[in-house]
Amino acid sequence: MNEVTITVNGVPETHQVEPRMLLVHFLRELCGLTGTNVGCDTTQCGCCTVHLDGRAVKSCTLLAVQADGSEVATIEGLGTSDRLHPMQESFREHHALQCGYCTSGMVMQGIDVVRSGIGHDERAVREALEGNLCRCTGYQNIVDAIMDVARNAPDSCGDGSVR
C-alpha cells in the first residue's frame, strides 16, 4: 500500500492505495465522486475524462500513484444543478446528452477543447472528440454545445483551472 495525496476539486485527498489502483477508482471509491464513469477498459471511450493539472486525461489510464501530488478536477468541481458551468449549460441548451453516461467525460473534454483554442473549427472539434464515444446523440449536438461555448464564453474554460 502507498500513501497518495491528490488535490481533488481543491480538496486534498490522502488515502492508502494499492499500486494497481487506477485514478478513476481513487475518485469513485475513495473520494466518493461517482460522477466520473467507466465505459471501457482500453482507453477508447473517454467516459472517465477528468482534468489533471489543467489538462484532460482519461482517469482509467493513470494509476492513482502517478497522480500523487497533482491537482485533479472532476465534473463535481464544475457547476451545481442550480448554477451550471457554461459548458454544462450549453450541453443542456443544445440537448447534447441523452442517457448521460458519457456526459461527464464529454463536458471535461469539451472544456479542454475550448481551452486549447480550436473550438471555433467544427472539423477540429470533431477530431478532438475522437477519444470520447457517445452512443446516443450522434455527436452533432455535442459539437454544437462546445462550439457555442467557444464562441460565447471561452473564458469560462480558462487555462483549465475551471473551479
Binding site: T42, G100, L129, R135
Partner: protein
C-alpha cells in the same frame, strides 16, 4: 368527459425549431433530467455501494462449444477474501429456474419451435465463448478475479458452428442435436402459389443475397447489478442497469423463483443507454440475487467492456435470399424471400422478436401483389440474439430497398423512379400488404420528394464533379422506409400531493429518451399545472404497480395515451369536487388551463391546485358562496389521482425517406459520409428537440452498422472483436451535419396522433448508405456490397482478386 385535443395539420413540413414559447406539447423544452446528469449526480447502478457489499465475478468459458468434464475449485479455496464459489449444479440444486423465451407466439407456423434450457450458469455443456461456468463471490473484485484464475475447468471440445453461414452448410455440426439443420423454428407468411404465379408472369427477375451483419448494442454504461436479500421479510431486491425493471420482476417472480411478485423488488435508477441490449433479463441479474441469499450479504456485479462484448446479447445477423419479379416497366409483381436469422446458442426473452417482427415489414412501402416469406431461426455457437434498435425492421428495410435499387439498375430506371411506380398511394389507405400488415396512413411519394428537395438531389452532378476534381469518387443513395411501432399495453398513473405537486407514475421506462421532460410536458398541458411542480417517477416496482417499459418506439404512443386518460380521469374527479366547492352543477363546469370555471354562470372558478389541496383537507372544504364547511365524498377525500390504460392495437407505422451521400478514396477504399438527409413522418411531435435527438442518434447507429461495426468470430468461435480496439464504434469525426425534416401525417390509431420516432434512422439509413457507395463504385462495375463498408471491403470490391496489376 373532458377531451384533450392536440393536432397539427397533415402534411405540414417542419424544420424543428428550438425557440421556446411555451412548455406544453410540441415545445422544445430543455430536459428536466439534465442538471442531475450534467453535474455528476446521475443515479447509475455502479454509483451505489451497499453496506457489507460483496463483489461477484463470472468465470467464463474460453471455448465456444465443449462438454464440461470437471470443475476443480480446490486450488482457489485459500485465496484471501473468498466468500463463495457457486456453480450451475448448486443453482439447479437450489431449485431456481431457467431464463425463459417469451418472444415466440403460439401461432407460429411449421410445428412449433425447439426450446433451449438456459440456466444462468452452464452445467454440462458450454455453447459459446463467454458462457458462465462459475460465480465467484469475494470481499473485493481483485480477490474474486484471483479466485477465478485458480479454478481449473477441464473442457472436452466439440465441433463449433461459429456463424450463420457455418450453421447453414451441408452436414454442419449441430448446436442442439434435436434441432435438425440447426433450425429452431420456421415461420411462413404470404401465399406461395400466388407468388410463384407472379414469377411465371414476370418479365424480369432480380435476385440477391442480402447479408445483415451481427452487431453489439454497446450502451455506454456496461451492465451492472446488485442483489440483496432481506431475511426478515423474505424478499429479494435487485438494483440493475436494466432497461425494463417491471419485465425483470415478472420473469423473476413467475419463471425463475415461482413466488408472488411482491416478494421481488426491482429498482433501476439512471440507466446509461440500452438500445434493446438491456431489455431482457441476464444471467448475472439472477446470480447476484441467488448469491445474496446464499451469502446473506449484498452482491454487486459490474461488467467491464470486454466482458460486455462476451456476455451482452447481440443484434441483427441475418441472411436473406430474395427474388423480386417485375414487369419491364419496373412494376413489382411479386417477391419470394427466405430469411435465415442467427439466434445464437440459446433463446433469451426477446430472441425471436427480430426475425418474427422484422419479416412482417418485408413489403416495405410498396404495393407488392404477391409474396411468400419463409423465416428460419438458426442456432449457432455465438451469444444469444436480442433486440437492437429497430429489431428486425432494419433487416427488412435493407432487403426491400436494396432489391429496389438492384432492380432499378437492371431495368435502367432511376432509384426514385422505380419507387414512384410502386408506392402504396395515400388513396389506397388503409392498405393491407399481402403478408398481412395494415398500414393506416402515409404519403410515401410526397415524403420522398421532400427529402430529394432537402438533399438537393438534382444538383448532385456538380458535387460529384467537385469530388472527382479532388480525386474522390462520389455516390448517392436513397431509401424509403416504413416500420411498425408501439406494442402491447401501458399503464400510467397521475397523483396530486397535498401541496399541489403532481407525480406521474410511469409504466414506461426512460434510459436516455427524456421522459422526465416529454411526459411532464403532456401533464403540464393537460392539467394546467406549472411544469416545475410535476415530477416523473419510474423504474421502482414497489412504487409503480406495473408497466411494460420502453422499447420499439412505443412510449409516446402507449405511455402518452395512457397518461392522457389518467389526466382526464383526474380532471373528471376534480370536477366533482370543484362543483361542491363552487356550489354549482358539475355539468356546467368547464376545465381550462388548470381552472374549473362556471362558464355558463358568473365565471366563478377554482384552480386544480386548490381542488387537489382540498382533496387532502383534514376537515372538509369551505364553499364558494355560502362559506359553509362541507364534507367531501369519500372517494374524493383521500387525494386526487387517476389511472390511465392504453394498448396499441392497431400499432402505428412511421415512415420516411433517408438520403446518403458518400465520397470514396479510390486508393484506400475509405468511405466518407458527406451527406445525410432525413425526412420522417412520426405523426404529431411532443418535443421536437428530443425527437431530433432520437433521430440523430439512430442515424449514427445506422451509419455505424453500415460503415464500421461487426461482431466477428473466427472458425473456432473465438470472438475477435472483444474490445473497442477491435470493434469500431462511430465517432464524432465520422459524420457530416445532418439535414432533418419532418412531414407529419398524424395517425388516428391513438388519441395523440403520434407515431414512433426513436428507431427511424436505424431502419431507413443503412440501405441508403450501401446504395450510395455502390453508386460511387459504379465505374468499377460493383453491383452490391456487404456491410460494414470498411476500407478493406470497399477496396477489395474495387480490386477483385486476379485483376490487380
Amino acid at each position: 368527459m373532458n377531451k384533450i385535443v392536440n393536432e397539427m395539420p397533415a402534411g405540414t413540413v417542419v424544420t424543428p425549431s428550438r425557440q421556446l414559447n411555451h412548455s406544453g406539447i410540441g415545445a422544445p423544452v430543455r430536459r428536466r433530467e439534465d442538471p442531475r446528469l450534467l453535474t455528476g449526480k446521475g443515479r447509475f447502478a455502479d454509483n451505489i455501494t451497499m453496506t457489507r457489499q460483496l463483489r461477484g465475478y463470472v468465470l467464463r468459458s474460453p471455448v465456444a462449444h465443449a462438454k464440461i468434464k470437471r470443475i476443480d475449485v480446490s486450488p482457489a479455496l485459500d485465496v484471501p477474501g473468498l466468500v463463495a464459489i457457486l456453480t450451475g449444479e448448486d443453482y439447479a440444486a437450489d431449485g431456481w429456474g431457467d431464463i425463459p423465451c417469451v418472444s415466440i407466439p403460439p401461432n407460429i407456423t411449421g410445428g412449433g419451435y425447439h426450446a433451449t434450457p438456459f440456466p444462468p450458469l452452464a452445467t454440462d455443456r458450454v455453447l459459446a465463448v463467454g458462457t458462465g461456468v462459475a460465480f465467484i463471490v469475494a470481499e473485493t473484485l481483485a480477490a474474486a478475479i484471483d479466485v477465478a484464475e485458480r479454478i481449473e475447468v477441464e473442457y472436452d471440445e466439440l465441433p463449433v458452428v461459429p456463424t450463420l453461414e457455418a450453421a447453414l452448410a451441408d452436414n454442419a455440426p449441430l448446436v442442439w442435436p434435436q434441432a435438425k439443420g440447426n433450425r429452431c423454428f420456421t415461420h411462413e407468411l404470404g401465399d406461395a402459389a400466388a407468388a410463384d404465379a407472379a414469377f411465371e408472369r414476370a418479365e424480369h427477375v432480380v435476385r440477391a443475397r442480402i447479408r445483415n451483419q451481427r452487431v453489439a448494442g454497446n450502451p455506454m454504461e456496461p451492465r451492472t447489478c446488485i442483489g440483496a436479500w432481506d431475511p426478515g421479510d423474505m424478499r429479494w431486491q435487485l438494483t440493475s442497469s436494466t432497461a425494463n425493471p417491471h419485465r425483470i420482476r415478472l420473469i423473476l417472480a413467475d419463471q425463475i423463483l415461482g413466488v408472488p411478485a411482491h416478494r421481488v423488488h426491482v429498482v433501476a435508477g439512471d440507466v446509461g443507454g440500452g438500445f434493446g441490449t438491456k431489455g431482457g433479463i441476464y444471467p448475472e441479474e439472477i446470480l447476484v440475487l441467488w448469491a445474496a441469499q446464499r451469502t446473506g450479504r449484498p452482491v454487486k456485479w459490474v461488467s467491464d467492456r470486454s466482458e460486455a462484448f462476451l456476455s451482452d446479447f447481440n443484434g441483427r445477423d441475418q441472411i436473406a435470399d430474395a427474388e423480386f419479379a417485375f414487369n419491364k416497366d419496373g412494376t413489382v409483381l411479386g417477391a419470394r424471400i427466405v430469411v435465415n436469422h442467427n439466434l445464437g446458442c440459446q433463446l433469451g426473452p426477446s430472441t425471436a422478436h427480430p426475425p418474427l417482427v422484422g419479416t412482417r415489414m418485408l413489403s416495405g412501402v410498396y404495393a407488392i401483389p404477391a409474396m411468400h416469406v419463409t423465416v428460419n431461426g438458426i442456432f449457432t455457437n455465438s451469444r444469444t440474439l436480442t433486440t437492437y434498435r429497430g429489431a428486425g425492421r432494419p433487416e427488412a428495410t435493407l432487403v426491400v430497398e436494396r432489391m429496389m435499387d438492384l432492380a432499378a439498375e437492371e431495368l435502367g430506371l432511376a432509384p426514385d423512379e422505380i419507387r414512384r411506380r410502386n408506392f402504396i398511394r395515400p388513396n389506397q389507405m388503409p392498405y393491407t400488404t399481402c403478408i398481412g400488415e395494415t398500414y393506416d396512413c402515409g404519403e410515401f411519394e410526397a415524403i420522398m420528394d421532400e427529402a430529394l428537395r432537402l438533399a438537393d438531389w438534382e444538383d448532385f452532378a456538380a458535387r460529384r464533379a467537385d469530388s472527382e476534381a479532388r480525386g474522390r469518387l462520389r455516390g448517392r443513395g436513397l431509401a424509403v422506409y416504413i416500420e411498425v411501432c408501439a406494442t402491447i399495453s401501458e399503464r400510467m398513473e397521475v397523483r396530486f400531493d397535498s401541496a399541489g405537486g403532481v407525480t406521474i407514475l410511469a409504466g414506461t421506462f426512460s434510459y436516455g429518451q427524456g421522459h422526465e421532460t416529454s411526459f411532464v410536458q403532456m401533464a403540464h398541458e393537460w392539467l394546467g399545472v406549472p411544469i416545475e411542480k410535476i415530477r416523473l417517477l419510474q423504474g421502482d416496482t414497489d412504487k409503480i404497480a406495473t408497466g411494460r417499459g420502453s422499447f420499439g418506439s412505443r412510449s409516446m404512443t402507449v405511455g402518452g395515451s395512457a397518461l392522457k386518460q389518467a389526466c382526464e380521469s383526474v380532471i373528471d374527479k376534480g370536477t366533482r369536487l370543484a362543483a361542491i366547492m363552487l356550489e354549482v352543477d358539475p355539468a356546467e363546469i368547464v376545465f381550462e388551463s388548470g381552472l374549473y370555471l362556471w362558464k355558463a354562470g358568473d365565471q366563478r372558478s377554482v384552480t386544480i391546485d386548490e381542488v387537489a389541496k382540498a382533496s387532502f383537507a383534514w376537515k372538509g372544504v369551505t364553499t364558494y358562496a355560502s362559506g359553509a364547511l362541507k364534507s367531501i365524498p369519500a372517494d374524493l377525500w383521500s387525494g386526487l389521482e387517476g389511472i390511465g390504460h392504453f394498448s396499441a392495437n392497431p400499432q402505428n407505422y412511421p415512415n420516411g425517406c433517408y438520403i446518403a451521400e458518400v465520397e470514396v478514396e479510390p486508393e484506400t477504399g475509405q468511405v466518407h459520409l458527406v451527406g445525410v438527409t432525413a425526412v420522417d413522418d412520426v405523426g404529431n411531435v411532443v418535443n421536437p428537440l428530443l425527437l431530433e435527438g432520437q433521430i440523430m442518434g439512430a442515424i449514427a447507429q445506422a451509419a455505424g452498422q453500415a460503415l464500421k461495426e461487426k461482431v466477428v468470430h473466427d472458425e473456432t468461435g473465438q470472438l475477435l472483436t472483444g474490445a473497442y480496439t477491435d470493434y469500431a464504434m462511430p465517432q464524432a469525426g465520422d459524420f457530416p451535419r445532418f439535414k432533418l425534416g419532418l412531414r407529419s401525417v398524424p395517425t388516428a390509431t391513438n388519441p395523440l396522433g403520434v407515431k414512433g420516432g426513436a428507431e427511424a434512422g436505424t431502419v431507413g439509413l443503412p440501405p441508403a448508405i450501401v446504395s450510395a457507395v455502390v453508386d460511387a463504385l459504379r465505374p468499377y462495375g460493383v453491383r452490391d456490397l456487404k456491410m460494414p463498408l470498411t476500407p478493406m471491403s470497399v477496396w477489395e470490391a474495387m480490386n477483385p482478386e486476379g485483376e490487380e496489376e
